[in-house]
């Protein structure tokens, strides 16, 4: 058994104007933060299609974060409200699919809140680490056949 600490892989969808800017500032200011969150920049958290989140879990993410501007401050006025609505429903879907609620987070971080970003990355990484690896394809979908395995020299039984 490996002695190495399990390092969760987290995908973060960050909105360009608020959270991404905060994360940028945190980086430029050399604030210490864990490197587990891989960032995908979108212009607005409203761009985030629930499909992306499911795809991320499917491809191996242990946790997914969606972060945008505070409600009322969206650069595009209302995009984050749509995100809120979608993610509320998505949380239910994830629960029904057996994915621990705590693996998916919707947060609001404004461009001036670099420290909040750092704290969020630390907290979320710790939480996902405690939940352990999800490894969807390797566990839940393990051993499922694929059409590529079909061979036509299959002998007919009896």
């Amino acid at each position: 058994m490996s002695e190495k600490l399990f390092e969760p892989r987290i995908i973060g969808f960050l909105c360009n104007w608020c959270t991404y800017a905060a994360a940028d500032t945190a980086g430029v200011s050399r604030m210490k933060q864990p490197a587990n969150i891989d960032v995908i920049r979108v212009m607005c958290s409203g761009r985030v299609d629930p499909t992306f989140i499911l795809k991320a879990f499917r491809e191996g993410a242990d946790g997914v974060l969606v972060a945008g501007c505070h409600p009322g401050d969206c650069h595009y006025t209302e995009g984050n409200y749509k995100t809120l609505r979608r993610m509320t429903l998505l949380h239910q879907i994830l629960e029904q699919m057996g994915i621990d609620r705590r693996r998916f987070r919707l947060e609001w971080v404004s461009s001036s809140e670099a420290p909040k970003w750092v704290q969020l990355t630390q907290e979320f990484t710790d939480q996902v680490r405690a939940l352990g690896p999800l490894n969807w394809s390797g566990t839940v979908l393990a051993g499922l056949p694929t059409a590529a395995e079909h061979v036509c020299a299959q002998e007919v039984a009896e």
Partner: protein, 597 residues
């Protein structure tokens, strides 16, 4: 066309004209009491009698009824006529010895004392029938008529009982030559619309149904208040069946400018930019009952004070109490409905300065003692602080403490209670007039206007600017600008600056010819759209429209800001978010999660 001679001069008369009309048209004075140009002549007062010589015969006739026949000769001031007039006036004066209009006319003709004793010395009605005729012919309410016979003859409604048939138009009071009819605000007698309970600015004095809104109105032409106009009210009353009442304004207008049939026109204009300058409304002080607004006619709002003080207003600019006296003590209360958790939390910005102006005017016009109840004095502009100093020097008493309550005392005085925060004591001041300087707020229909133009609202209810510091006149929709208070409280100089900015931006947009837009926009391939319209309501920039004919949604790429909300929401997955496509993002997800090498 008839030819007749009046007082030795030849005149031409139109078909149907009376001698009186021809005389007046040509500047010949004939006194009348019971005549009105828009009503049928009645010949009741007999004052307009003239001598007519026709076919060699002379007779005294009432010129108001006598037709201007071809070939007659009229004498309006012959000895016979003057004697007749004197006699008539003597009779009139005997009936109404104390009516100033009769006294003056009688004096003119040398009648100084009534020749006969008066039945009722206070009688004012001369039974001229003008009120009856106006009520019957013009207003068509048919309320008034002559009642009784002989010496008991008088004017009144049926059975001399108050009736709701009277629509309270006041036409009878206007035509009455002696002022014998008075308008009484009696709820039973007046045609009253039960739905009228909406807060409306109280009128400070009467006006006619056709009026020029103010001396500064642009354009300065009269408008008809269709809720008060007799003709429109008849139309409503009869549900459009009959609408021939009054029309006096149309009859008298020489330019033929009055048109009752005007309908609202809906104009469709294609424009390049829109400036929303829909202003504000005054907050209704009924909402905080502790100010007792509505319980005394001497508790008025700031706007009512402005009207009172206006030279074109009901009092000619004098500051008077409702009973006509000058006030001796006036309280001006700031922040009524502003800076108040129970009303509006924001500061309305303009009131401190106009409160000072009002105090200054009251001092100047009446010399009354003025108490200003304020919380903070916001004198932020050019010359404002200096004006504040000046007003203080004029002796206005500044009380730093919110005017908290107004009590109407039994004698009609108003007790204003508050705290003097500087002295740390509660105080009460008894004044004659209280001016409540109320908050300004977004218009009642701001929600609809915002929806129409895709405007946001800030928490305080005003329209949302694109950026609170850097973009005060723009909105989130390109091409739609805000000007003035609709975006937030501001006074005249600031409004002018704001509006100038909006106008410049609007013009700038139109002059640009070409506009550079970001390529990061959403795009709906027409052949793939199923027309579900889920995206339509999601765009904060109103960039998505629906083509009814082709049943597809379309993105206006000039308006689209590229947020991608519609791209994510599209249930058929066909909206393309250029430069942030689904494929591009999916590939990033896959790449980032590839197992570590």
């Amino acid at each position: 066309m008839a030819k007749l001679i009046i007082d030795g001069q030849e005149f031409h008369a139109e078909e149907g004209q009376t001698v009186l009309e021809v005389a007046r048209q040509n500047g010949i004075a004939i006194p009348t009491l019971c005549y009105h140009p828009v009503l049928e002549p009645f010949g009741a007062c007999r004052l307009c009698m003239v001598e007519v010589i026709r076919r060699g015969w002379s007779q005294l006739v009432t010129s108001c009824t006598y037709p201007a026949r071809d070939g007659i000769e009229v004498k309006t001031r012959s000895v016979l006529v003057l004697e007749a007039r004197k006699a008539v006036l003597g009779l009139l004066l005997s009936r109404c010895p104390n009516v100033p209009e009769i006294q003056e006319l009688a004096r003119e003709y040398g009648v100084l004392e009534p020749p006969f004793p008066a039945k009722d010395p206070e009688e004012e009605c001369i039974l001229c029938g003008l009120c009856v005729r106006v009520c019957h012919e013009m207003v068509k309410a048919d309320v008034l008529n002559f009642v009784g016979h002989g010496p008991d003859r008088r004017v009144g409604p049926a059975f001399l009982e108050k009736t709701r048939q009277c629509i309270g138009c006041g036409a009878c009071t206007i035509v009455c030559p002696t002022g014998a009819i008075e308008m009484l605000l009696s709820r039973e007698g007046i045609y009253f619309d039960e739905d009228y309970a909406v807060y409306e600015e109280k009128p400070l004095g009467p006006t006619s149904a056709i009026y020029v809104p103010s001396l500064q109105a642009v354009p300065r032409v009269p408008v008809i208040d269709t809720d008060a106009c007799i003709r429109f009210r008849q139309d409503d009353r009869t549900e459009g069946e009959v609408n021939d009442a009054c029309g006096a304004c149309q009859i008298l207008c020489e330019g033929g400018a009055v048109n009752f049939d005007q309908q609202d026109e809906v104009l469709e204009l294609d424009v390049g930019s829109i400036i929303v300058a829909t202003g504000f409304q005054m907050w209704d002080p009924h909402q905080l009952p502790q100010y007792a607004y509505g319980q005394s006619p001497n508790i008025i709002t700031g706007l009512e004070f402005e009207r009172l003080s206006n030279a074109g207003g009901v009092t000619g600019g004098q500051i008077l109490l409702s009973d006509g006296r000058k006030p001796e003590k006036v309280a001006i209360i700031h922040c009524v409905g502003s800076r108040d958790k129970n009303a509006h939390e924001y500061c309305s910005r303009i009131c401190c300065m106009y409160s000072l102006k009002q105090a200054h005017l009251v001092r100047d016009k009446t010399g009354a003692e003025v108490y200003e109840f304020y919380m903070d004095m916001r004198a932020f502009g050019k010359g404002y602080e200096e004006f504040y100093e000046r007003v203080q020097e004029e002796g206005v008493v500044m009380v730093r403490g919110r005017g908290a309550e107004v009590e109407v005392l039994p004698d009609g005085k108003l007790r204003v209670k508050g705290e003097d925060a500087d002295l740390g004591k509660l105080l009460a001041v008894d004044v004659d007039m209280v001016v409540l300087n109320t908050a300004i707020e977004a218009q009642a229909d701001a929600t609809q206007v915002a929806a129409l133009f895709g405007l946001g609202r800030t928490q305080d209810g005003w329209f949302a600017e694109a950026h609170p510091k850097l973009r005060p006149v723009e909105t989130n929709t390109d091409g739609i600008y805000l000007a003035g208070v609709c975006q937030g409280p501001r006074d005249v100089p600031d409004t002018v600056a704001h509006a100038n900015a909006a106008a410049s931006m609007a013009l700038g947009l139109l002059n640009r010819g070409e506009v550079v837009v970001s390529p990061q926009v959403a795009y709906i391939p027409e052949e793939l759209c199923s027309g579900c319209r889920i995206c339509n309501a999601l765009c904060p920039y109103s960039a998505i429209t629906f083509d009814e004919e082709r049943q597809v949604s379309q993105v206006n790429s000039a308006l689209c800001k590229g947020c991608g909300t519609c791209v994510a929401a599209c249930p058929s997955g066909i909206i393309v978010g250029r430069h942030f496509t689904d494929d591009q993002i999916m590939v990033q997800i896959e790449a980032l999660l590839e197992p570590a090498r």
